[in-house]
């Protein structure tokens, strides 16, 4: 298989710029301008911020990662893998993958990218002491070796047609071979790391030797403002140009003030998972009854203020080309829910439901569900627990508990991580041999029609059998000042999949304050 060569996004933009040349500059249509300093405020900033791609786990980490590093592959707005540091990517039955690297790509220290760097960058994830976020995925690479100075051969332990998407995960970015000290970033990315003060700020300056299309900005500054109000104030007062995660309640006010909003239809979802191997989940009636109890539209309106898409209890979002359209979301049906819950034998019991602000919106969803339940005289005890340690202390441990799942770059990954029998992140402990078989089949299928069919079947299996209830997919909101241009929604997540710095430009060419 050979991937299409890297789409020249810049050429397309230049073309539209020429068309608009005769017209007065309008929002986003004017020809992009080079230069300027962009100040961005993310949400989470802490001393645990890192420049080590393997350890990146927060939004601000991912943004930094995309500023300073590149992967072999990058993911576009539709989550399709595009070649980046790889010039070609071929496979033999999806098991053996050969990567030929671009020539003359330079790290920020001036050294040239070689196969050795790629081998080091990929294999270090398998060392537990590196504590990589992608340890489990990295373990699927049986061997990674350099065949020639520019060719790397990766052998997987099982066929995986979606391996290019895995290489597009920003944790798998390429670092210089032998790098141990990550207090400074030495990548191949479009910006140099000028300053990195964890929890305070990061400054990047344009890399003149960047191998790809030249970024428009001269420099970029990234800070974190965890407080919602302070972040919006900073945008409105002009202290920052762009903020991640705008509060849905403030969207209208921002729009009226002339600020722009990017609504990115991500595949992120907050779900209620019922452990199928514990008390309640052992009854299929109980799980199904609970799914009918969700008032999905009410959750959309009151929890997400309209900024979400209705979910149908399976993890593939509606925007995906593999989304099963025939699988309609369950209607809110109190009678059916009551009937099923009564038949399960748990009706009249007080159901303990664990939620936390750690799982976005889960407390509110639990309350909406509690209300729906009260209509049919079913009692739910909402147990709100703290953010700290939620993922290790509560998540996947409670019989009825909420999770918040970020999408993986390919459906097979999302489905595999959350629902394969052997996956440690199988939230509801759902075991389905048919599903597992389909998963391994889809990974070795190159035929798109067949793939679609398998994905549709898998979605049906999950929606009807698993203990995971997915009422909504969240829509991420970012806000920007009127002079910021070139931003667009992306399925890859907020801020164009954290990759906005390569496309954004500033009208009026604002310099950097001294």
């Amino acid at each position: 298989m050979q991937l299409a060569s890297f789409l020249k996004r810049r050429t397309v933009l230049k073309g539209s710029g020429l068309l608009a040349a005769g017209m007065a500059p309008q929002n986003g249509i004017a020809a992009p301008i080079f230069g300027g300093h962009l100040k961005v405020a993310g949400v989470v900033g802490s001393a645990s911020e890192t420049l080590d791609p393997a350890r990146q786990s927060m939004a601000t980490d991912y943004i930094r990662g995309r500023l300073f590093y590149d992967g072999l592959v990058s993911l576009d707005d539709m989550l399709n893998p595009q070649l980046a540091l790889a010039e070609t990517l071929d496979s033999d039955g999806f098991v053996i993958w050969r990567v030929r690297l671009r020539r003359n790509v330079r790290f920020h220290d001036g050294t040239v990218l070689t196969a050795e760097d790629v081998v080091f960058s990929l294999l270090r994830h398998q060392d537990p002491s590196v504590s990589s976020q992608q340890y489990a995925l990295a373990k699927t690479m049986q061997s990674v070796r350099a065949i020639s100075p520019l060719v790397v051969e990766i052998v997987l332990n099982a066929p995986n047609a979606d391996f290019p998407a895995i290489l597009g995960i920003s944790n798998f970015a390429i670092v210089k071979a032998g790098t141990k000290d990550f207090s400074h970033a030495n990548g191949t990315g479009p910006f140099y790391c000028e300053e990195f003060a964890p929890g305070i700020r990061v400054i990047g300056t344009r890399n003149p030797d960047f191998w790809g299309d030249r970024p428009y900005l001269d420099s970029i500054e990234l800070i974190a403002i965890p407080d919602d109000m302070a972040r919006h104030n900073a945008l409105m007062s002009g202290d920052v140009d762009l903020i991640a995660t705008a509060n849905p309640r403030l969207v209208q006010m921002l729009k009226e003030g002339g600020f722009g909003i990017i609504e990115s239809p991500e595949g992120t979802y907050t779900d209620l998972s019922v452990r199928l191997d514990q008390r309640y989940g052992r009854s299929a009636d109980f799980v199904e009854g609970l799914k009918y109890l969700f008032n999905r539209e009410q959750i959309r309106q009151s929890v997400f203020l309209g900024f979400s898409r209705i979910g149908n209890d399976q993890p593939i979002p509606p925007e995906s080309p593999y989304f099963n359209h025939q699988l309609a979301p369950r209607e809110h049906d109190p009678d059916k829910a009551q009937f099923l819950l009564k038949r399960s034998g748990f009706w009249n019991e007080i159901l303990p439901m664990v939620c936390s602000p750690a799982a976005l919106g889960s407390v509110d969803i639990a309350v909406v569900l509690q209300y729906s339940a009260s209509q049919i005289a079913q009692k739910i005890a909402v147990q709100r627990v703290p953010v700290d340690g939620y993922w290790t202390q509560y998540w996947m441990k409670a019989s009825l508990g909420f999770g918040n799942i970020n999408p993986r770059p390919a459906p097979s990954l999302t489905l595999g991580v959350g629902f394969a029998s052997t996956s440690p992140w199988n939230e509801s402990r759902w075991h389905n041999a048919h599903f597992d078989g389909l998963l391994s089949e889809v990974k070795s299928t190159g035929n798109d029609a067949r793939k679609r069919q398998i994905y549709w079947d898998m979605q049906e299996l999950i929606a009807s059998g698993s203990g995971v209830c997915i009422p909504n997919f969240t829509t991420s909101l970012d806000a920007y000042a009127p002079h910021v241009c070139g931003l667009r929604p992306s399925q890859a997540g907020q801020l164009m999949g954290y990759d906005f710095a390569r496309s954004v430009w500033l009208r009026g060419n604002r310099g950097r304050a001294t």
Binding site: S46, A47, S48, E49, T50, R55, S57, D127, P128, S129, S131, S132, Q133, Q134, Y135, A136, S183, E195, A197, P198, G199, I200, R201, I223, A224, I225, P226, D227, M229, A230, N233, A234, M236, S237, G238, D239, V240, V387, D388, G389, W391, T392, Q393, W395, G403, P424, W425, A513, T514
Partner: protein, 318 residues
């Protein structure tokens, strides 16, 4: 009389050191009782048993708690505060710039608040129950009753969002001149000064009014001593103890108790660092921050105690 002074200070310092040990033990114990550890903050949802085990081993979290505390204490006694569990940076390096920022903010606020509160407190005690006293009382009571985040948020809304006069966030990195300092620090410093000022004014006024109603002041007045000499030489030394104590308490809260101000203005201070360290269970960082706060508090209160004792002849004999 002079011989007893070093002994007195020595006793105070001993008491301070005991409190310090108590604080360190408590903070260590409490941080470890909290559910979860630093591996949660690093690995989060993607944690696997292998990476958690390797990470815990690398951080030394697989060792018994007493051993961990002892090795931390041993190193701390030798001036080595260890490394952050999260990013491996030395704790001293991480705290250094943050402490500098916090001291800058607290210092600037104190520079305004202390003289202003002494002036307001003493004058309103002198003109007790006059119109001036009422105005000062109402204003200080008003400021004390409004939480600082309300003052700060309203200030940001008016001066930054509406008028575009001052920045909504403090960009410490861009401060290179006095003008830039005033521009960046005006709002947080004013807010902090207002909040700490109110308490100091009330304490100063109370102490001073109490002293001024004493019969020896009346005696001095009858002897024909002028008002300035009466206040500064006769009344103030006797009111100094409570005033200095109030000032010391207010100042110590300026360093550690400003989390809210740090959040509203996104100010990279040490209080925020500690909150962050607690939520990510970064024990060495929590310990070091607690030490900094505790030492500051002890220095200020010990200083206040000594001043109180020295200002009162009967205290000196005790």
């Amino acid at each position: 009389m002079k011989n007893s002074l070093p002994k007195l200070i020595g006793k105070r310092c001993l008491a301070a050191a005991t409190s310090l040990v108590f604080v360190v033990v408590t903070v260590f114990a409490v941080t470890n009782i909290l559910p979860g550890d630093a591996t949660d903050a690093l690995l989060g949802q993607n944690a696997t048993p292998q990476t958690v085990a390797a990470l815990r081993h690398g951080m030394g979290l697989d060792q018994p708690i007493f051993f961990r505390f002892w090795s931390w204490l041993w190193a701390a006694v030798h001036g080595e505060f260890g490394h952050s569990l999260l990013n491996g940076l030395s704790v001293a390096d991480a705290i250094g710039p943050r402490l500098h920022n916090s001291l800058l903010l607290a210092g600037a606020a104190a520079l305004i608040a202390v003289p202003a509160s002494l002036f307001l407190g003493i004058t309103s005690a002198i003109w007790k129950d006059t119109f001036y006293d009422r105005i000062v009382s109402i204003m200080t009571l008003g400021v004390v009753s409004v939480p600082e985040f309300v003052i700060a948020t309203i200030a940001v809304y008016v001066f930054s969002v509406r008028l575009h006069l001052l920045p909504a966030i403090v960009d410490v990195g861009s401060v290179h001149s006095l003008g830039q300092f005033l521009y960046a620090f005006f709002m947080p410093v004013t807010t902090l000064a207002l909040v700490s000022l109110a308490q100091m004014v009330r304490m100063t006024r109370a102490a001073m009014a109490d002293t001024l109603s004493a019969s020896y002041i009346e005696m001095a007045l009858l002897k024909g001593i002028g008002p300035v000499r009466l206040i500064l030489v006769h009344a103030l030394p006797n009111a100094l103890g409570p005033i200095v104590n109030a000032v010391a308490l207010s100042l110590s809260s300026l360093l550690g108790g400003v989390v809210v101000i740090e959040v509203v203005f996104t100010y990279p201070g040490i209080a925020g660092l500690m909150v962050d360290a607690v939520s990510s269970r970064d024990v060495p960082m929590v310990q070091a921050c607690a030490l900094v706060f505790c030492v500051t508090y002890l220095i200020l209160t010990t200083f206040a105690d000594i001043v109180t004792i020295l200002s009162l002849p009967r205290g000196r004999k005790a």
